[in-house]
Symmetry: C2
Subunit: 155 residues, 2 copies
């Protein structure tokens, strides 16, 4: 069992993608984050969904969430415009560890070790080795655990 056998397609964005497109991808795919790729489809970062919210929620509300209650419901109408004004590049966190990246022939245990070391629920898998390799897909923690765990015994 190698990384290539476990990898499934995963939604991606580019640094220049606008944040509204990114937000729609998150909701369409029910994912907590997106993989950011460069022009060669090589993964360069991860965009956690919570970062998209940071572009949505005014900074004075982030500093004091109690203020959220006093904003009127019409707030949501302005969200589309706000998101369209931002790019993924502005939202990718600078202070986070990079997305762990595996090669296609890495073992299940290597994937598990990368997730554990990076505290990441996701590992990107390349279609080969090195900088020229493109994104093959990704392995999520629940898929990995599903393969690692023996079937539950029936009583």
């Amino acid at each position: 069992m190698k990384a290539r056998d476990l990898a499934v397609p995963y939604p991606t964005v580019r640094m220049e993608t606008d944040a509204l497109t990114a937000a729609r991808l998150l909701t369409e795919h029910n994912r907590p984050g997106l993989i950011v790729v460069d022009e060669n489809n090589h993964p360069v970062a991860v965009l956690p969904g919570s970062q998209v919210l940071r572009a949505l929620v005014p900074s004075y509300v982030q500093d004091d969430p109690a203020l959220a209650r006093v904003l009127d419901e019409g707030f949501a109408d302005s969200i589309c415009d706000k998101l369209a004004d931002h790019t993924v590049k502005e939202l990718v966190p600078k202070d986070r560890p990079a997305l762990p990246v595996a090669n296609d022939d890495d073992t299940v245990l290597e994937l598990a070790a990368m997730m554990a070391a990076n505290r990441s629920p996701l590992v990107a898998v390349l279609d080969g080795k090195g900088k020229g390799a493109a994104l093959l897909g990704a392995v999520s923690i629940y898929d990995l655990l599903g393969r690692l765990l023996p079937p539950a015994k029936a009583d």
Copy 2:
């Protein structure tokens, strides 16, 4: 639109639950983490799936993931035993922000502000206020964005 309208049931564990049960819940529900509740079903922590892997992967492999390659495939057979020996309490990270917790009448914007401030893909929702309140469910970031975003315009 209030938190109670968005909250959906979410898999939970207790501090004394064994890690094997937690791992199975992660895979059955396709979730990146679990909510830890106390004996009154009050949420007290979040257990990220990557912490479960830390109990699985030997520490010398976490320190040097290249060692994962030299372990034989039979390694996976011992996983069940290793997990059954640990409890959720041992795996909950001590150095992480707590799971954000909302009241049932919090607004969508309040939920968004909590996720943004805590960098969390998830908010737990209580069935009332204060320490006696029990877990009603949780709101994930993709459900929240799905409610916030206006429908895509058809061209």
